[in-house]
């Protein structure tokens, strides 16, 4: 494999290190640090080797399809820009690891810290090395997640949790916007690979979707790089341990946004829209940050705002959109990374050794920690842009550029003045950082007796500070090559001429620097009035309040909308469903009813529609019964009776219109259902109360009417027109194929036996479910019928018993008869099942469930299960001989006396149906009945043959 493929390894190694670090910490807490450091070093080595190999033919890229269809590929590229950033991430990362090893206190979990740290490093490397844009977004979001974990590292601190969530919300939002932008960009270009995207700048800038793409991507940039108005998450992120702040929130992660500006520079930059948005945002951030930094009392707070300000400065540079500005931007990225990281580490040391970061308490530390003080001062001077320090050079370039482009942005004088103001402020806060910390008197005594930190804690800072100086004095030599490579990577072309020397003669930029230095000094000297003024006026402005309000709003809307919609009422759910169904039906109708072809056809002859008064009268009666049921539904027993009338009527209609099977089924089902409902009513209030307001009742009536009307219309529309069906086939093939003359039954057991199989499963399930529900359920029962009469005392009257004894054999016989004839004439397993079941239930009722079970102990669950298995078995027989499930077979054979017997294997299937029906019906009724027994056999009714004595005292209690 070609060496460049190793780029993936560079990204993935830290990810592998993460769990390793966490795991190693279980043995020795410093092992985690060693793992982290070692892996970083290894990664750095591999990367340098790669660079050495490919420096000549950059940019080089490698891609493996990941989700090709969506344009996602696992692709990495190495060019100047990614080289620069990878270098920063790894080198500073290494230093931070060393620093953190000494920074973390014994009761902080090293394993977790370094695991998160490595995750972040990997994610960050992924961002800067990605070739595929979606791939880039993936790692981009990973940096947000890692930073969430790192900021909330001290979970017990409220501000840590808040800061973490704040950062995640803002940067996460940016990431999602970025995803959107990237997808659009890829759509414009037709490829998500950066190589293609960077090559097609003109295409992009002239596309209609340029603006949305640009804005979405810039949202990603600004949120990540803490640009106004999204800057406020960064100061809150300072709740993280200082190494984290130094690494993520100054050197690397917050630079990811800037990186993106540089990355897309050739593709997006230079348009008017770009210049306006980017430079404005950059300028505001630059000034706002610098101003706020001055008034921060917390060391890290000051540094955070100064970081914001410098990020604004870089953004502003890229906003200019000129190659030279880009050069300055890149240069300042390098310088800022070095001096800001050192300053954070210094702040960390101070915090670590004195126990506070509050500049109002600190002071005079130079006596106790001269070395640290020296480091702090050098870095601060770099930050202030003092000559001979690296900050000076990039700031000069920055001034030069702003003077050059000043004409294009606002009046010529405006930009130079504003940027000098910014520079001036940064001088002021740099001064404050140094002076308030290392000079003057401490205010009261400090939490700890300050002293120099352990040497290894300073080494990283030493190195960086040396760099600041080296770059500051010999820029061309030290940083020249790197800068050149990086800029080439940004512009994807040979960079324009620029000079990296200290001295460019007396010119406007030099003057501006001088003003900044002197002005800054002056401001700092008479800071007292300024601070007082600030405290009175602007101190109270805080972008967080806006954010908090937004969050509250979100929470309230969320709760409000959800509770408003889902109020947990059945009525709401049902109404929603019905109304939506109604609307959907209408939509469907309207969509097509308007079509010309339809209109033409609508006046077609309808089918012949005979009929007789009797039938109509019958239907009218059913309608009346229905309405009566509705009217009187609060008298439950009454409603039940009228409803059973309706049920019978329906059966009559089936009979009238040549569906004898349906009539019989409906009839038998009706009987069982009524028994069931009556039993149930025994445990329910006998009346329904009027709970809904008249208004609501009218609303419901309205909905009911509309739906009923709709259904009626639908029915009429359908049945008043002719149609062809597939059912002629069943008539033809019923006898030859299904071996039965009763087509309905043949359909049930043969043509569509699978339906029936599902149907009996439903029945069985209902039985099981009911059994489960009633399982050790105790119910209060009314001891009187709705009319206040006590239910019969004798639970098993003699008459019923004798009657049941006589009826049983007869009904059983009848059942078997119905079952056998089913295949050829109306009847069949189902109806037979119901008949037999009711007969048996009568037995139980008559003799009491317990005794009957003792007499003929039917394993009811067994009957149900067995029935299903038999039905299944007859179907499986077919599969054994290699034809599909449920394929029936018919045999003909002659028996003596009986003559020819014609038997369809489907009869076995029907037997299964029969058994399931018997079993289920009995299981349901008996379990309800058993409840009755419990209800009646109260402690005071010991046995079924209740003695007159108990009767009396019960009667007494009842009356």
């Amino acid at each position: 494999m070609n060496a460049i493929e190793l780029l993936a390894a560079v990204v993935l190694l830290p990810f592998l290190a993460a769990p390793l670090a966490a795991w190693s910490a279980r043995f020795n807490r410093y092992a985690a640090a060693w793992v982290a450091g070692g892996v970083t070093l290894l990664t750095l080595a591999i990367f340098s080797w790669l660079v050495a190999l490919h420096i000549s033919q950059m940019p080089v890229a490698t891609s493996h399809a990941w989700i090709e269809a969506a344009g996602l590929s696992f692709g990495f590229r190495l060019d100047g820009l990614s080289l620069l950033f990878t270098g920063l991430i790894l080198v500073i990362g290494l230093l931070i690891v060393i620093y953190a090893r000494y920074y973390l206190s014994p009761n902080d979990s090293m394993g977790r810290f370094f695991a998160y740290m490595m995750m972040f490093m990997g994610a960050m490397l992924g961002v800067v090395l990605s070739e595929n844009m979606i791939n880039l977004v993936i790692f981009w979001e990973l940096t947000s997640l890692a930073s969430f974990l790192l900021i909330s590292y001290w979970q017990h601190r409220k501000e840590a949790r808040y800061g973490a969530r704040l950062a995640l919300a803002i940067t996460g939002a940016g990431g999602l916007a970025l995803l959107g932008g990237v997808l659009i960009l890829g759509h414009i270009v037709g490829s998500y690979e950066l190589t293609d995207v960077l090559a097609s700048g003109d295409l992009i800038k002239n596309h209609d979707l340029y603006a949305p793409a640009l804005i979405l991507i810039l949202l990603g940039v600004f949120t990540k790089s803490a640009q106004f108005p999204f800057h406020f998450w960064l100061p809150n992120a300072m709740a993280a341990p200082t190494p984290v702040s130094a690494y993520l929130h100054s050197a690397t992660m917050v630079k990811a946004g800037i990186f993106l500006l540089a990355r897309f520079f050739p593709a997006l930059a230079g348009t008017e829209l770009w210049v306006i948005i980017v430079s404005t945002v950059g300028l505001i951030t630059f000034l706002l940050g610098a101003y706020t930094a001055l008034f921060r009392h917390d060391l890290k707070g000051l540094l955070a705002y100064s970081t914001i300000s410098h990020l604004g400065l870089i953004t502003l540079l890229f906003g200019f959109g000129t190659p030279l500005a880009a050069v300055a931007g890149i240069f300042h990225i390098i310088n800022h990374a070095t001096f800001k990281a050192s300053l954070f580490m210094v702040a960390g040391i101070v915090d670590h050794e004195t126990g506070t970061r509050d500049m109002r308490r600190l002071g005079g530390l130079i006596k106790y920690m001269p070395h640290t003080a020296a480091l702090g001062m050098i870095a601060a001077m770099a930050m202030a842009g003092v000559p001979l320090f690296n900050g000076f050079l990039s700031k000069e370039m920055f001034f030069t550029e702003s003077v050059r482009v000043a004409g294009d942005i606002g009046p010529v004088w405006l930009l130079p003045i504003l940027v000098s103001l910014g520079g001036l402020l940064s001088v002021a806060y740099s001064l404050r950082f140094v002076h308030d910390t290392f000079f003057g008197k401490p205010d009261g005594d400090l939490p700890k007796k300050p002293h120099e930190p352990p040497g290894m804690m300073k080494r990283p800072v030493d190195l960086l500070v040396v760099l600041c100086l080296a770059v500051g004095i010999l820029p061309a030599l030290v940083v020249g090559p790197l800068l050149h490579v990086a800029v080439t990577g940004v512009l994807q072309a040979e960079p324009p001429y620029y000079s990296l020397s200290l001295w460019h003669g007396f010119n406007l930029p030099l003057l501006m620097s001088a003003i900044a230095l002197v002005g800054g000094l002056l401001i700092y000297l008479n800071r007292a009035p300024i601070f007082r003024w600030h405290a009175r006026s602007l101190a109270h402005l805080d972008a967080r309040t806006a954010y908090n309000r937004l969050m509250e709003l979100l929470m309230r809307t969320g709760a409000g909308v959800t509770r408003g919609l889902d109020n947990g009422r059945l009525g709401r759910i049902v109404i929603m469903t019905l109304v939506f169904a109604l609307l959907a039906g209408l939509v469907g109708y309207v969509q097509s009813a308007g079509l010309p072809g339809v209109q033409a056809a609508l006046d077609r002859g309808t089918v012949e529609d005979s009929g007789d008064w009797v039938t109509w009268l019958g239907m009218l009666l059913i309608i009346i019964a229905t309405l009566v049921t509705v009217m009187g539904h609060r008298q439950r027993l009454f409603a039940l009776i009228t409803m059973s009338v309706v049920g019978l009527g329906v059966a009559m209609i089936f009979a009238r219109f040549s569906a004898p099977d349906l009539a019989m089924t409906q009839l038998s089902v009706e009987v069982v259902t009524m028994i069931l409902l009556l039993l149930a009513l025994f445990y329910l209030p006998q009346q329904s109360r009027r709970l809904s307001s008249p208004g609501r009742r009218w609303r419901d009536a309205g909905i009911a009417t509309v739906i009923g009307g709709g259904i009626a219309a639908l029915t009429y529309a359908i049945i008043s027109r002719p149609f062809e069906t597939i059912s002629g086939y069943f008539l033809e093939h019923s006898v030859p194929g299904g071996g039965g003359t009763n087509v309905v039954n043949v359909i049930l057991v043969d043509f569509r036996g699978y339906d029936t199989f599902g149907e009996i499963t439903v029945l069985a399930l209902a039985a099981l479910g009911i059994f489960a529900m009633l399982h050790n359920l105790s119910l209060p029962s009314s001891r009187r019928d709705p009319f206040g009469r006590a239910w019969s005392d004798d639970p098993h009257p003699l008459m019923l018993r004798t009657f049941a004894q006589i009826i049983l054999p007869l009904t059983l016989l009848f059942g078997i008869y119905v079952f056998l004839r089913g295949h050829n004439e109306p009847g069949g397993g189902f109806i037979a099942g119901l008949i037999v079941a009711s007969a048996l239930v009568a037995q139980y009722m008559a003799f009491g469930i317990e005794n009957t079970e003792r007499k003929l102990h039917l394993p009811i669950h067994g009957v149900i299960g067995g029935g299903i298995l038999i039905a299944l078995g007859t179907g499986l027989v077919a599969m054994v001989v290699g034809v599909p499930f449920l394929t029936s077979n018919t045999w003909h054979f002659t028996l003596p006396l009986l003559g020819e017997i014609h038997l369809a294997s489907a009869i076995g299937f029907d037997l299964g149906v029969f058994l399931v029906v018997v079993g289920s019906t009995m299981l349901i009724l008996l379990n309800l009945g058993r409840l009755t027994d419990h209800a009646i056999e109260h402690p005071d009714y010991a046995s079924i043959e209740a003695s007159p004595a108990d009767r009396k005292n019960r009667g007494g209690r009842d009356a």
Binding site: G571, H633, F657, L676, R689, V744, I747, L774, P780, A959
Partner: protein
């Protein structure tokens, strides 16, 4: 005319069912569901159009009704039966669990609670 009548009947059954399903206590809801099932079963049945004196038995009559909808309705009836059985028992369970028979388990003003012996009319 018959078609019109039966369409009307089906409409009424369904509408009545809808109205009762929208009531606030479990028993009326069960009644409503049962009425709905009557309605939809008749609807399904009529989809084969109405034929008099033509049972779908081979050789019984020269014309014979559309057997398929009948078979479907038979299945539908059974399923409806199973469902009714289940839901009514569920209503019982709900009353046992919630102490009243309101569909949302809300306390019903002066609704009878557990063991309503006391406040029954005297015989």
């Amino acid at each position: 005319m018959t078609n019109l009548a039966i369409s009307l009947l089906i409409g009424v059954l369904t509408g009545a069912g809808v109205y009762l399903v929208l009531r606030a206590q479990t028993f009326p809801v069960v009644l409503g569901l049962t009425l709905m099932s009557y309605g939809v079963n008749l609807f399904l049945f009529t989809m084969g159009r109405l034929h008099t004196a033509a049972p779908a038995v081979v050789g019984a009559t020269e014309r014979s009704a559309d057997a398929l909808p009948q078979a479907l309705v038979l299945t539908a009836i059974v399923i409806a039966f199973a469902m009714t059985a289940f839901v009514i028992v569920l209503a019982l369970k709900a009353r046992a669990a919630l102490g009243n028979d309101h569909v949302d388990g809300k306390h019903i003003p002066q609704a009878d609670q557990v063991m309503d012996r006391r406040k029954e009319p005297r015989a």
